[in-house]
Subunit: 216 residues, 2 copies
């Protein structure tokens, strides 16, 4: 089972690693990190440098496509070769997936017209602009397209998909293997639970990032 | 605030990425991935290749040390240069941390004698063999030593430490930023919750891995 994980500059690490750490543990899984070139890609926070194991030219099919999100996703929404590759692989997949703003890339590739999908809570308008129907759910499965909410939601998406592919018992075993018994010290992980102050703080930070990107 | 994340061959990706994705979002954080050499290190699942940004020789202090776990941790427990570097950095830290079997490396370095600590649920005996007092908690803070349970527990550890370092509001904002509102599709993430069949399945898989390691 070939799993292609798309890389680009300034992706968010956990977006890619959540699905990688769960789906790659299905027996027979063959994960590969794929970039426009076989070079190093850095995450949004800069320090993590991931070497692509293959280039777009090397990979022409996959059973599962995973498109992570991150600040770099905005540039990918108008990157012709990236979108061409996403469309090409999607035509071969059993499952086409995204985490966080990875769904805005799927949308820009034309894969989400009229399709229910999700993304990071702060980017619902951007997702809607691609023709998708944004939902507030954490993991959305519609046909073979599976989208997850922000960053950490890729773990829940990965386990959901493991169950579909390999059965509930396999998913439970992988959950226990990675000891995924979450105990966040606060209950502030969604806009339905965080305080208005926290939401305002994070929204302002994200706006600053976007403004810096636009000015760059 | 310098954050040194130790790399070695066959570490588990999420062990490193959970703390990276949370602690590195504190304003002023300077994370760096550090290996014995400035080369590429592969995770246990093989596909993810991470380029170390610095070698042990380059880094002689850190505010936070993060030691991930993974199948490769067993070899590190008797790796003199690795343990020497861990001891050297620990002498300079405000916080010395581990995820999963990373704590067995801290233990092998002599840092956990008589100290409450945790690790992956299947490795408590190995942790005890280093002189630590294993607990069943998900995140254990004792003085400046912070240990987390298996793999995904590094996210909870990271947020716990963000709160200690930068305050509760910062931790809540980072939690919302990474939309950490976990909704696992099953409740099978700990040995207190998983079925005996699931526990047996995972324990057998881990034993097979260990036997293959010992034979290699």
């Amino acid at each position: 089972m070939k799993i292609a994980i798309a890389l680009y500059d300034r992706f968010t690490a956990l977006d890619a690693i959540g699905p990688y750490e769960t789906l790659s543990r299905i027996p027979g899984a063959e994960p590969v990190f794929v970039g426009c070139e076989k070079r190093i890609f850095r995450t949004d926070l800069g320090a993590l440098a991931v070497q692509a194991g293959a280039s777009f030219a090397d990979i022409d099919r996959a059973d599962i496509l995973i498109v992570p999100g991150g600040p770099g996703s905005r540039a990918m929404m108008s990157d012709g070769p990236f979108l061409d590759w996403v469309r090409k692989i999607h035509a071969t997949t059993q499952w086409t997936t995204s985490v966080c703003t990875g769904s805005t890339i799927l949308g820009a590739a034309g894969l989400l017209k009229g399709v229910d999908a999700t993304t990071h809570w702060a980017c619902m308008d951007e997702l809607a602009s691609t023709g998708a129907n944004p939902t507030g759910e954490r993991v959305v499965v519609r046909g073979k397209i599976v989208t997850a909410a922000g960053v950490s939601a890729g773990i829940d998406m990965g386990l959901t998909l493991v169950a579909r592919i390999a059965g509930d018992e396999a998913a439970k075993a992988i959950q226990l293997g990675i000891e995924y018994d979450p105990q966040p010290p606060f209950d502030s992980g969604s806009v339905t639970k965080a305080s208005p102050d926290t939401i305002g703080l994070v929204a302002a930070m994200l706006q600053q990032e976007n403004a810096a990107d636009a000015a760059a």
